[in-house]
């Protein structure tokens, strides 16, 4: 390792060191505000470290990691999501029983796991990152002391995530059997060198994708999603929906591009079926739902289904760039919308109960017009209405789908979006009801969380009208992709 290696790894090193320091601080000083601020600052420092690190990119550091602009894009997204989650969590944990300090430590570790996942082209490193992320999440989901709901959600996630990891490991074993290597590129070489091993490669690939589909909550591996989102603290639900899924998407991209993982018709057919099922069933499940956190869970199932179009387009398109561009833009849009939505859930939650049931949103326009306004923008964006970033992102997906002639998937996208509009608009409709009963006893609005929500809402709107900066950023990430 030389200095250029260290420079390339700077964001990761900063966060890693900060985690150790944070652990030491917690051992001596227990102060909620201090811990939260330190965590947010460490993530911010890591985010700022991306700037200087860019000049050393792309760079392979050990056989395990490749640091490049593509990874930096995801690292940036994940760190921003992490900072938002810290701000929301501070609001969420205020006035609750128990010690909040370790929560932030776990959050930082989970974030660290996610940003290592996006920089790897090797299965060993991938599994390491995935487990760092997942194990922190088990605890985070079950962190609140009161009630059994979070605990139940945590256990469900623990067991099912274990099943998924097992599937991935079994798939890896098959791939290793065929290729003798854990590097992503090995699978491709194996197919050309030793055609006899094809069955192992295909089956191995499928098992790996099955495990990853759990993390992305795609149908039929989706069933945990609503239960966990509903049971987990609202900021953590947002974190799972964005960070944990975003990191897996980065990984899938690297595997599909570097390892040519989609070079098999059967696999494409299977993944298309998964995508279509996710789009349609995800939206159908959300249709008559009365709990907003569950709605967001089903909506995330559908959105990941949409995103699969971009992933599958890699195979269908002559040029990779457009498919990757569409996916990266979609992911950024999804991050902003989802974080804003869960941020608002956090803001409206009392210290006894999360603002899950839709009755919390009744008459929100009359009680908290600004929050209702941002939520309206967010929901319209999730539905893909023009002038929001959700529309731009969906338009790119559509473009990619049409260029790849993937018409079945596009039909599913249209049907799914049409169903989606119903339940997104229903929430807006509920917010306009003038409340009949007396005003709900609400906590005063927290300034920090409120400011972050407004910023996210502004981002959704600004990138809907003027998406050029986002497109330029994504272009840089793609052109700077190494390995």
């Amino acid at each position: 390792m030389n200095s250029a290696d260290f420079l390339a790894m700077l964001p990761h090193l900063v966060l890693g060191v900060a985690i150790v320091l944070l652990m030491l601080v917690i051992a001596f000083i227990r102060n909620h505000a201090l811990t939260a601020t330190l965590t947010a600052l460490s993530m911010l420092a890591s985010l700022l470290a991306i700037g200087p690190s860019l000049e050393a990119l792309p760079r392979q550091v050990t056989p395990l990691y490749i640091f490049d602009a593509f990874g930096a894009y995801f690292t940036g997204l994940i760190l921003i999501a992490g900072i938002c989650t810290v701000v929301f969590s501070y609001r969420y944990l205020q006035g609750r029983r128990g010690d909040p300090d370790e929560y932030y430590l776990l959050l930082a570790i989970a974030t660290f796991g996610a940003i290592t996942m996006v920089e790897t082209t090797h299965f060993a490193a991938f599994l390491l990152g995935l487990e760092i992320l997942s194990i922190s999440l088990y605890v985070l989901i079950a962190y609140p002391e009161e009630g059994h709901v979070p605990l139940e959600a945590g256990v469900k996630y623990l067991v099912l995530s274990g099943v998924a990891s097992t599937t991935i490991l079994f798939g890896l074993a098959l791939l290793y059997n065929a290729t003798g290597s854990m590097a992503f590129q090995a699978a491709e070489r194996a197919l050309t060198d030793q055609p006899n091993y094809e069955v192992y490669v295909v089956a191995g690939n499928m098992l790996v994708f099955g495990g990853l589909a759990f993390k992305l909550s795609l149908v039929p591996f989706h069933m945990w999603t609503p239960d966990v989102y509903q049971g987990a603290p609202a900021p953590i639900s947002g974190f799972i929906a964005t960070v944990s899924k975003g990191a897996v998407v980065a990984l899938v991209y690297r595997y599909l591009i570097g390892g040519d993982g989609l070079d098999n018709d059967a696999l494409v057919t299977a993944l298309s079926a998964i995508a279509i099922a996710s789009m349609v069933i995800g939206n159908l499940l959300a249709l008559m739902q009365r709990d907003f956190k569950r709605i967001l869970a089903y909506s995330s199932i559908a959105h990941l289904g949409y995103l699969m179009i971009a992933l599958l387009a890699i195979n269908a398109l002559a040029t990779l760039d457009f498919a990757v561009e569409a996916g990266l833009i979609y992911l950024a849009a999804y991050f902003a919308m989802t974080l804003a939505a869960f941020g608002i859930v956090t803001l409206l939650s009392s210290s006894e109960q999360d603002a899950g049931d839709l009755e919390y949103y009744e008459g929100l326009f009359w009680r908290q017009p600004w929050v209702a306004g941002v939520l309206t923008i967010t929901l319209l964006s999730l539905a893909g209405i023009p002038m929001t970033v959700g529309f731009i992102a969906k338009f790119y997906l559509f473009g990619a789908g049409i260029e790849g002639s993937m018409y079945t998937l596009l039909w599913a996208l249209i049907v799914g979006s049409a169903i989606g509009i119903f339940y997104y608009l229903r929430v807006i409709f509920i917010m306009t009801h003038r409340p009949e009963s007396t005003l709900r006893n609400e906590r005063p609005v927290a300034r920090g969380a409120f400011a972050v929500i407004c910023l996210l809402g502004l981002t959704v709107l600004a990138f809907g009208v003027y998406p050029t900066p986002l497109i330029v950023l994504v272009g840089m990430a793609i052109s700077g992709m190494g390995g």
């Binding site: 469900k156 099943v163 499928m206 098999n264 057919t269 079926a273 119903f422 998406p467």
Partner: protein
């Protein structure tokens, strides 16, 4: 010119400030922001036009950004400045600023002061986007934006249900036109593959032979949008009711700017109509018929603002006729002078109405000319320009239109004669309005203090000066944009003299009837035929009744007769199916861990079987 983007941005900023403070600001800051933002835009406009004319360029484009770039569809947000948009910019920001200043006084007793200026600023922003857009998509954005603001401002006094009805009527009727326009845009995009206006204009000649059917359809669809927005036949019925809004709104939106957007649209797309003589003839006919119908209707109204509304309709009719007969520059010239004198007329009417405690019936006014000298003289000057009295601004523009009509290949003499009849009627209803409002006995006690502020009288004085002198200089920048090469006139001999004399006859007749009472027409008016005709014209030629009978009533009756009609069944079925599927899939969400795990395992197995089976 580099600051072109600032012109629409300033009113937008004003709107954002006003809307985000939600009425917590005092009236003085609101007035400063509301009128100041438009004033600043006017100043930037003046500089930009000065530089533009000085540079001698034919056009200047300022690309701001590309919205999206997917699969060959890449609408860009580009601002486009040429002679045409420069004239529009000047009118919108200049006249708009004067009206905003006037409104700071007119609206001062209103509780929703801040909301009013927020809407007004949003309107100015949308209107500027409309005229600066280089792309039909951007133009359409502005087009819908001004429609929304028009809706919001017509219904501004929302406590009165009738105002809400008027606002909805305006919105729905213009929506008919907007739909036609959207279809026209789709057609143009399908045929030419672009929505950039300049690319369309150059592409039209290559794509279609003269008089091609597709082209005519596209041109007529765009005309549909224009007649809706500009209150021309057959979509004119909303404008008189739109007078429910505050008077500065009527002056800005329903006289000076928004209603002339249709004229701008057709002038902007002039190559479309040059290539399709039938569509152009349709434009001319729409204008001619509207101007006659509206003039007769104006002659019988009792409400001061409705007289002006019908008058606006007929003057826009002149503009449409001018576009139709190929006098492109004359149309835009008249658009500008009309903005000056009609804004003046509306604002002075507003002062009168305010002084009379919101009395709008002219037969309840009278004897006001000594008490309200500034509104009186303003209205006299405005009426003179409207009646095309020689040397006022309206004279130059309107006579140019009538003379150009004479040269039109399809029956130009008839167009000239009918337009002259319209000018005669215009002079007649102007004198009627002036004499009944300001002379004779006073029927209502006036309170001149209500309208005495300098912020209300100064805009009147400036607009009066413009109404007189605004036509003396012609419009040189238009020459490079429009095909007739700018404002000029080559007629000699008896025709111009006759054209100028006809309105004078109207004024004379009006003076004899309403001023001196030498000529008594009561016997005719009171006769059965006269009374019927009066009622018919008073109701705007019965179009409301007609549309009610032909469109509204049958649809309502049909809807009432079949609450569970067959068409709904299809949609009901979709809803039922979605709910049913939702219930089925919801059964899978049992909350049981073992069921979830089994499903995952089953999923993997099934997919493996598919993959290995197919592979």
């Amino acid at each position: 010119m580099e600051l072109l983007w600032l012109i629409p941005a300033l009113p937008l900023i004003g709107f954002l400030i006003l809307v985000s403070t939600q009425g917590r600001l005092g009236k003085v800051p609101v007035a400063l922001i509301g009128a100041g933002s438009v004033g600043a835009a006017a100043a930037v406009t003046a500089v930009a036009i000065w530089e533009f004319v000085g540079s001698g360029r034919a056009e200047y484009t300022q690309p701001l950004w590309t919205w999206i770039d997917v699969g060959g569809f890449n609408p860009a947000v580009v601002l486009y400045l040429d002679g045409l948009s420069a004239v529009m910019l000047g009118v919108i920001t200049g006249v708009g600023f004067l009206i905003h200043v006037y409104a700071t006084g007119y609206m001062r007793d209103d509780a929703d002061y801040s909301r009013f200026f927020a809407y007004m600023n949003l309107f100015v922003f949308a209107m500027l986007v409309l005229v600066l857009g280089d792309n039909l998509l951007v133009l359409y954005l502005g087009w819908e934006g001004v429609g929304l603001c028009s809706y919001l401002l017509i219904g501004f006094f929302h406590a009165e249900p009738a105002n809400g009805y008027a606002a909805r009527k305006a919105f729905v009727v213009t929506r008919v036109g907007d739909t036609a326009m959207a279809l026209g845009m789709f057609l143009l995009f399908r045929e030419l593959g672009t929505l950039e206006i300049q690319a369309i204009l150059t592409g039209v000649q290559a794509a279609w032979p003269t008089g091609s059917t597709t082209l005519t359809i596209a041109a007529l669809l765009m005309l549909g949008g224009a007649v809706g927005k500009s209150a021309q036949l057959p979509l004119q019925t909303w404008l008189p009711d739109a007078m429910a809004g505050p008077t500065p709104v009527s002056a800005l939106i329903h006289a000076a700017t928004m209603v002339t957007a249709g004229v701008y649209l057709i002038a902007r797309l002039h190559d479309l109509y040059l290539q399709s003589p039938h569509a152009q003839l349709a434009v001319a006919l729409v204008g001619l018929i509207t101007l006659l119908i509206a003039s007769f209707a104006a002659l019988t109204q009792r409400d001061l603002k409705r007289i002006l509304a019908y008058s606006t309709m007929s003057q826009i009719g002149y503009m449409f006729m001018a576009l139709g007969v190929g006098a492109w520059s004359a149309a835009i010239f008249h658009l500008m002078t009309h903005a000056f004198f009609k804004a003046l007329l509306f604002l002075s009417a507003g002062s009168v109405i305010l002084a009379l405690h919101h009395e709008q019936d002219i037969f309840k006014m009278g004897g006001l000319w000594r008490k309200l000298p500034v509104p009186f003289w303003s209205m006299v000057i405005g009426s003179a320009a409207l009646s095309a009295v020689p040397l006022t601004s309206g004279f130059f523009s309107k006579d140019l239109i009538e003379l150009s009509a004479w040269d039109y290949e399809f029956g130009g003499e008839w167009f000239w004669a009918m337009a002259s009849l319209g000018a005669f009627l215009t002079a007649l209803y102007c004198t009627r309005m002036i004499f009944i409002t300001f002379f004779g006995e006073a029927h209502t006690e006036a309170d001149p203090a209500k309208q005495a502020g300098l912020n209300m009288s100064l805009p009147l004085v400036i607009l009066a000066a413009l109404a007189i002198a605004g036509g003396w200089f012609g419009l040189a920048p238009l020459a490079s944009v429009l095909p007739d090469g700018g404002v000029h006139d080559t007629h000699h001999g008896w025709l111009p003299i006759l054209t100028a004399a006809v309105p004078m006859l109207g004024l004379l007749l009006g003076y004899l009837i309403f001023g001196t009472r030498l000529l008594n027409v009561d016997r005719w008016v009171k006769s059965t035929l006269g009374e019927r005709l009066r009622r018919f014209w008073f109701g705007g030629w019965g179009f409301d009744t007609l549309y009610d009978a032909v469109l509204v009533k049958p649809i309502v009756a049909l809807a009432g007769r079949s609450p569970r009609d067959i068409v709904d069944r299809a949609y009901d079925f979709i809803a039922w199916l979605s709910r049913a599927l939702h219930r089925v899939f919801a059964l899978t969400q049992t909350g049981r861990l073992r069921w979830y795990a089994v499903n995952m395992a089953a999923g993997v197995v099934v997919i493996l079987l598919i993959v290995l089976g197919v592979g």
